[in-house]
Symmetry: C2
Subunit: 284 residues, 2 copies
DNA sequence: ATATCGAGTTCCACTATTTGGAACACAATT
DNA sequence: AATTGTGTTCCAAATAGTGGAACTCGATAT
């Protein structure tokens, strides 16, 4: 099997099937590619826990035998991907920070999108997000807001569920049906607010509407008092699928206002895509 | 060998000997622990390149055979740790962002230090940094400054050389001699400015001064026009060694001002250590 | 003191995965 | 059409990972 050539729709499908740790829910340990996959799967277990986990806790979730798990943890620690606390609990290692800083700074997509996000922010005055689809999660790549009081890491890199975020639903809307069905089938629906869409049917209906209009909305589905409009963004071959959104507090931003921004958000998405095509080669 | 029990000085030693990618300089590929180590080593090669590298470029640096390297890259891509661009070049994957966001948010040390950093910033009005020692690099964990205009990721997670940063030299000063010599021996000295210390002798002399006073200074050694005072910070068993610093532009911050802040910086470091001892158990 | 229990660690014969040389595709160049 | 450079695939041999069971250590109970 050719693994590197998983371009196009296959990538999206593979991504959807990739090991996932539901942002809110139980982590489903799922072995990945060989030895590395198993190690990363252990890392993921530690990452998706709220509190640092101890050996036995991890043992219970990963279905690895004691000896094996112990060695995997040792290796992870030795590589700096995990660190072990005095009380034998594990936390993610600092080496990850270094990698992530490079990953972020070097991300071509983000670099290209950045000025467009700023423009969109200037026109709307509200917070602008850029997030990419990864399995059943959206990973936020960038954020532009006026008051930079909130710390960057509190948002960037964060993973949120696809089914209840504007960016997530926008991204889903551009997937071809077969891929979409696979992704939707693997979503772990969870109610966050009274407005959360909690069944595949509700989500699919919304996605149809998004496909028709080109915009998705988060109607306080993830967090009470928070609304957004978003538009999808993708490479021609769907090797990546993302979304831009304008988010604001419900008391200040009415649905009508969001609707009035919808076209601008779509336009921003198109402009970013144009820029990518011209700067990363015409076949993008 | 017991890998998990590498507490105390051994950890520092192990860290010093760990695979490293010099922040500025050539990456020295160095195989790590088994299969995982090799994979991470490949990741590191990609991470320490300025531009995305293509297969052959990586092949030249990693001394792995073609077939092997190809599979390693495939696995890394499949795990989302690496992503492959259209032109067959590799960049770091977005999954790393998710891991790092958790690593940062969950870092106990950082959480405890944060309020102290803020206080220090309020007293001095200049930028405060918190960085930890990792091999011959310092990884910045946090940053407090007035104008949050600069984006977070541009600094946090960044790795800088130990030998020409205040935080780095402060951290080195608390290592026991044998460990210190090992670390210094593996430093790749490189001149950044006219003031950079470029020989082990110069560095060791400075470290003696730091040991005597309890403060290190960066006298425009890393970047022209930038100065700082720092103080070391460490756990009793040296399982981690770090530093706090106050940094400012030379035109505004004279050496005299830095000296007047020196005691306050030391005090901040002590307070953070106290806090850690009380909150993470007395043996810390 | 001594026994008991739980948590973490180590050991080593067995086995599955990784290895790496060489052959194979594919594209761009000559 | 031939050549060169790059990336990809294959498979027997070698290596590294596996996992059950035994062991150590510390805390709690007797």
């Amino acid at each position: 099997m050719n693994k590197l050539r998983e371009g196009g729709i296959d990538t999206a499908a593979a991504t959807a099937a990739a090991p996932q740790s539901l942002a809110a829910g139980r982590a489903l340990p799922q072995a990945g590619t060989g030895t590395l996959g198993k190690a990363i799967s252990v890392l993921d277990i530690v990452a998706s826990a709220e509190e640092p986990m101890r050996f036995t806790d991890i043992l219970a979730i990963s279905d690895q035998p004691r000896g094996t798990l112990h060695r995997q943890l040792s290796n992870l620690v030795e590589e700096g991907l995990l660190s072990i606390n005095r009380d034998h609990s594990y936390s993610l290692g600092l080496r990850l920070l270094k990698f992530a800083a490079k990953a972020w700074a070097g991300n071509q997509f983000r670099t290209i999108a950045e000025p467009h996000l700023k423009t969109l922010h200037e026109h709307t005055g509200e917070t602008v997000h850029l997030g990419v689809l990864r399995g059943t999660e959206v990973i936020y790549l960038d954020k532009v807001e006026s008051r930079q009081a909130v710390r960057m890491y509190s948002q960037i890199g964060n993973a949120s569920p696809v089914f209840c975020t504007g960016v997530g639903k926008a991204a889903l809307s551009v997937l071809p049906d077969d891929t979409l069905h696979k992704v939707v089938a693997s979503i772990n629906f969870r109610r966050f607010t009274d407005h959360t869409l909690v069944t595949p049917e509700q989500l699919m209906a919304d996605i149809e509407a998004i496909r028709a209009s080109g915009n998705s909305y988060d109607r306080e589905e993830h967090e009470l008092g928070i609304r957004c409009v978003a538009a999808p963004l993708y490479s021609k071959d769907l090797s990546f699928v993302a979304g831009v959104s304008v988010t604001g507090p419900a008391y200040r931003v009415s649905m009508e206002m969001l609707e009035s921004w919808a076209e601008m958000v779509r336009k921003t998405a198109l402009e970013i895509m144009d820029d990518m095509r011209t700067r990363l080669g015409p076949r993008t």
